[in-house]
Amino acid sequence: MSGTGNMMHRPTDTRSASMSRMGAAGRTSAVASSFVVADAGQCIGCKACELACFAVHSQANGIGASVGTVSVPVVPKVYVVRTGDTYVPVQCRHCENAPCAHACPVQAIRQEDGVVMIDEDRCIGCTSCVLACPFGAIEVSPVYRAGHLVTQSGLTHRANRVALPRTAASKCDLCAETENGQPACVDACPNHVLRLAKGISDSPPEPRREVFFPRL
């Protein structure tokens, strides 16, 4: 990695691969972009990270510490995937020039303090961001509030006329709202597979939409 000011606590192959895919390896930005990196070979596929992620993001749905308090489907913001014999958790890289944000037609995705955030209320569930994300870190899923499925007025199932759920994009927000700022997945992983990599950079970001979507 030919980074100038990018100080990774733990540079990995994954990171450099992703940077070159962005066509912008080594460019720096004014916004410090941190993200959770995974040591793919070490992951045992226990999904403790998924469960922890779901647990800390679901308190508004009345979910406490015990599994018995869970009354909504488990929808995490990190996904453990398996390829061949290897498990690896996949989550948002908080890209400096977030392609998802560029793709979002309603500006529901913004970067705040280096964290790429999705405003669920604003999201129209169009999945543009899902297609734009090079990592598959975004999932569009039904929205639950206070333990109940939110339905969207005006949308009904063709056959039985039942209101359809409102869906919204959801992805890692680096546990922006947790107390100590330590992502829950990093804490929960029994194998120390996950780490918070802190990016520190000094020059302003450049628009790179043409790199990602030359024909958009």
Partner: protein, 501 residues
């Protein structure tokens, strides 16, 4: 939805086994082979390659349920090609597991057999006298299933909930624990004075009993012949309790709420019956009771506090500390000391048996006797001690063994904690809640519980007497060729002389 449910879960046992339902299962369609369960399994019963679905060797498994507690791989509700397909798959899994149909929590790869449907069906049968007992460790954990803080103490709400679920009598396993102390304490004194096999081991934890039967069958005569508190109370409910209520034992339906996945196995043991009646008919776990309360629409948080029924629901503080590691020992010393010396125990809180280490040892001056005791929490710590007993090198008098890492408050049927880092926090809170419950009770020694005194006056006669022997004591059986699993690494606390004065 599809009605062809092949038994996808419950993989066939690796070997033949001596009981029909292995209780603990791993769903091979979910298990990712992370083997975290294998790390906590004290007897290496979980077999398989990393990354492949695991199987449980049912002949070796002691049914402690620790694997169920740790497994974090769940069925994703979004994995199917459509939401309808995912919902149908979920329902299939729920039916395979015989869980309540309306359950909403995630389904994990490791799970245990559920009995709630069986029990709730039986509850509707007319002409039955329905009795329930609850273990000491339920009242400090049940509330967690309703979102309350770890260790919230709710004996009153629990009794109220059980009445609303339709039980005619709400009794308490803590009373059975008080009886256990009377019987086990007397047995210990007899063994010490008459030279019976020593050390004597407790026999209240069915996972430990099963462990001894599989791994150390040659040491079975070291186990106390006492049934567990649950079985003792079960036997008393259908004899003494039936007399008091003037009901036929045959018409009693007796349910126990336990923190433990092994208690159903214990209650199914053929020897756990008296006069042709099962001591306990069915066991539910803490989690199952929570499902039931939710299913019935009971607003647990706003229930009034109600009392347990008398006399088999009236307990001492000693009975209530059975739920934590060291509790049986502490309760036994409180009574044993006074029975042996005829003097008042100067200090009730016996800190030397309290703690979190896998093994704690101490010497207690009881009259002229220097009583050497040990407490084991977590079966992985038992191997080394038992090897020493086998070699004749262990001169302790009394050893408490509990299968789970912090005793029954950490049992396999207790609320499952989502974040691993909160587990210790949960155990500590449950534990301090149990000790607080003990400290707040007026009567804190089993032999001073007036209802225990009355039980012996009116019904049992004396500890280890004829009636006791018939109802409250049992035998054990060899279940394996002897030690086959790992040996342990242990940390020992204590080993110093301890004077109660």
């Amino acid at each position: 939805m599809s009605t062809t449910i092949d038994k996808i879960s419950s993989p066939p046992c690796m070997k033949t086994t001596d009981y029909t339902d292995p209780v603990i299962h791993i769903d091979p369609t979910l298990c990712t082979g992370c083997r975290r369960c294998a790390e906590v399994c004290p007897v290496d019963a979980i077999e398989g390659l990393p990354g492949e679905p695991q199987t449980i060797n049912a002949d070796r498994c002691v049914i402690c349920g620790q694997c169920v507690q740790i497994c974090s791989v769940y069925a994703s509700d979004w994995a199917g090609s459509s939401p309808q397909e995912s919902a149908a798959r979920r329902l299939e899994r729920i039916q395979e597991r015989d869980m309540p149909a309306d359950i909403r929590e995630p389904l994990f790869a490791a799970y245990y057999s559920y009995n709630l449907n069986k029990v709730s069906d039986m509850m509707t049968k007319p002409g039955q006298f329905r009795i329930v007992q609850c273990a000491p460790a339920i009242r400090v954990s049940l509330a967690e299933e309703f979102g309350m803080p770890f260790g919230t103490l709710t004996p009153g709400k629990m009794a109220a909930a059980l009445r609303r679920l339709g039980f005619d009598r709400v009794y308490d396993t803590n009373f059975g624990a008080d009886v256990t102390i009377m019987e086990e304490g007397t047995e210990l004194i007899r063994r010490v004075t008459e030279g019976g096999p020593l050390p004597m081991f407790t026999s209240c934890c069915p996972a430990w009993v099963r462990f001894a039967e599989i791994e150390y069958p040659d040491l079975l005569d070291h186990l106390s012949s006492c049934k567990s508190p649950m079985q003792m109370l079960g036997a008393l409910i259908k004899s003494y309790g039936a007399q008091l209520d003037e009901v036929e034992p045959a018409n009693i339906y007796s349910v126990a709420i336990m923190p433990c996945t092994c208690k159903q196995f214990e209650c199914d043991r053929p020897e756990m019956e008296s006069d042709g009646y099962r001591d306990v008919d069915e066991v539910l776990t803490t989690r199952e009771l929570a499902y039931w309360i939710k299913q019935s629409g009971i607003d647990f948080a706003n229930l009034p506090d109600e009392e347990f029924d008398s006399p088999l629901g009236q307990y001492s503080g000693a009975g209530s500390i059975f739920g934590v590691t060291g509790g049986v020992m502490e309760a036994a010393i409180r009574t044993g000391y006074e029975l042996l010396t005829n003097e008042k125990l100067p200090k009730l809180q016996l800190d030397f048996v309290r703690g979190e280490e896998g093994i704690r040892v101490a010497e207690v001056q009881v009259g002229k006797l220097q009583l050497k005791v040990a407490v084991v929490a977590g079966l992985q710590h038992a191997y080394q001690l038992l090897d020493r007993v086998q070699a004749g090198e262990c001169d302790y008098h009394f050893i408490e063994v509990m299968g789970c890492p912090a005793g029954c408050i950490s049992g396999g049927g207790q609320p499952k904690i989502m974040l691993e880092k909160q587990r210790i926090e949960a155990y500590r809170a449950r534990k301090s809640s149990i000790y607080g419950h003990d400290a707040a009770r007026q009567v804190r020694k089993s032999h001073e519980n007036p209802h225990i005194i009355k039980l012996y006056d009116e019904f049992l006669g004396e500890p280890l007497g004829h009636v006791s022997h018939h109802l409250l004591h049992t035998t054990f059986q060899q279940r394996g060729p002897g030690k086959q699993s790992r040996s342990s690494t242990i940390s020992i606390k204590g080993d110093t002389d301890y004077s109660i004065h």
